[in-house]
Amino acid sequence: MRKRHTPKDRLITVALHLALAAGLFFAAFPIYWMLSSSFKSNTEIFALPPTILPKAFTLEAYAAILGDPVKLRFFFNSYFVAGAVTVLTVLIALLAAYGFSRFNFRGKGSLNTLIISTQTIPPITLLIPFFGLVVSYGIFDTYIALILTYLVFTLPYAILLMTGYLNTLPRDLDEAVAVDGGSSWTALWRVIVPISLPGIVATSVYTFLLCWNEFLFALTLTKSTSMRTVPIGIQLLMGQHAFEWNQMMAMSVLGSLPLLLIYLVAQRYFLAGMTAGSVK
């Protein structure tokens, strides 16, 4: 342990704490402002001088959103699509990851590179052919269009994440099943799946967040208000009532809740999911 009694040392410690406070202001003030504005009236939001805490605390903005079936539908759509994609992605990625992790086969290296490289394909490039496809198959403005689209973006990283996780599990576990005459399919479901829960959680969290945040495809491949997801709903709200800032902030708070809750509850998995691929 280092001694820190000299005045210079104390000065450095104080400076560091001031810098930490400045960093906190930079990181958190915009979010605090969103939160506090959602409890203000529209006139108070632009009051001069600005009120740090809502002077007249009101839940009016939240009531306006939670009492409006059109806006609640945005939330339902987001949860439904993100939930469906998460289940599908985890299942499909688990199979692929098992293939990658437990077998040696021709083309393994190049398939792996292919999957890594698909992570960086610009969404805007796929948007135009998807639009063409979705229109010609008559699934424009449906859940199916969004679910299929999102799968393409969630799958590559989910496969890498799951493969990375399965590689950490000892091979003897599932090989034991093979020695007993069981198939690899049995080994996957009886042995691998039950002990892969942390990996499955990380993959689910990552997938859900990606879907929850998606904007470009939701904007282009849906049209009716009843098919819109939360991000598009916020944009619509902004277009319709340009001055209802408190409602927009309340909607933003409600739209961020799932992410914040997941982060607080599953912080470990969340960070694993977000950084695994890039740090390795």
Partner: protein, 298 residues
């Protein structure tokens, strides 16, 4: 096991991995590789998507894009937006990671701050855009604070004046994206062996020397990979710009993604939009190859 049974088992082992991979490969093939080929095809056709029997257009649509000054402006804005974002993401991420890693702060405080510093990362691009529109409103809190401090004399229309709009969207994106670096560098810092610093202490090294000669070289692989990924992803940013400025005013924040989107879904010139999309794809592909080569070299 009989010989027949054993060879049957062998065959099963040989086929199994492909079976496990088939759903994924089917999706990636049909919904990613095929559309990529399709969009390249579209870029060489007249009235792509809109007509059933489009005619061959040659390089006409590429020509049209390269002749369009808005395209070049968009390319320049994309480059500015992306480079500034990556540089500041890295710098802020590094500063925050180093501060959080310091043994001068109390562990509880460290954990609380770590959670709070990551916050911007948890918000959807659309919400980030809406928050910054509120903050940077002419009557908003940023203007009123800056005026009280005497930094600006009159209200600035951050997103709606051509002089400030690009800087404003870039700033919002910097705010939104530094945590990826912070988290990755923090993980990297914890992986540097303590002996390196102890040896340096014995040699009487100063803090900045330890930073330059130990910390940064050790973190270099992470810095390079994350920078490349961040560059590729930032180049593709769409919702943040779409919601804050929509590419305006007078194209001052038009980037390649908004330019392409407008060609496709405002002008319904899907052929030209496809050509533009292919240009973006080629740039990303180039960077991706760099990224993969770098990852493999390590």
């Amino acid at each position: 096991m009989t010989r027949q049974k054993r060879s049957h088992h062998k065959l099963k082992r040989a086929v199994a991995p492909y079976l496990y991979l088939s759903p994924s490969l089917l999706i990636i093939g049909l919904l990613m590789l095929l559309p990529m080929v399709t969009v390249i095809g579209y870029s060489f056709q007249n009235s792509a998507v809109l007509r059933r029997d489009p005619s061959f257009a040659g390089l006409k649509h590429y020509q049209a894009i390269f002749d369009d000054p808005v395209f070049w402006a968009s390319l320049w804005h994309t480059l500015y937006f992306t480079c500034m974002s990556v540089i500041f993401h890295m710098t802020i991420g590094m500063i925050f990671a180093l501060m959080l890693n310091s043994d001068r702060i109390n562990p509880t405080l460290r954990n609380i701050l770590r959670v709070l510093y990551i916050l911007p990362w948890l918000f959807t691009a659309v919400i980030i855009a809406v928050i910054w529109r509120l903050l940077l409103e002419p009557n908003g809190v940023v203007n009123s604070i800056l005026m009280q401090l005497g930094i600006i004399g009159s209200k600035v229309e951050w997103f709606s004046s051509p002089e400030t709009a690009l800087h404003a969207v870039t700033f919002a994106n910097i705010w939104a994206g530094y945590p990826l670096f912070m988290v990755s560098l923090l993980a990297g810092l914890q992986g540097i062996p303590k002996d390196f610093y102890e040896a340096a202490d014995i040699d009487g090294a100063k803090a900045y020397q330890k930073l330059i000669f130990i910390t940064i070289p050790q973190l270099m692989p992470i810095i390079i990979s994350i920078s490349l990924l961040d560059f590729i992803w930032t180049m593709q940013v769409f919702p943040l710009i779409w919601i804050t400025t929509g590419g305006g005013p007078i194209y001052s924040t038009e980037v390649l993604s908004t330019y392409t989107y407008k060609l496709a879904f405002s002008s319904y010139n899907l052929s030209q939009a496809s050509a533009s999309a292919v240009v973006i794809l080629l740039i990303s592909l180039g960077l991706t190859l760099l990224y993969i080569r770098y990852q493999k070299a390590r």
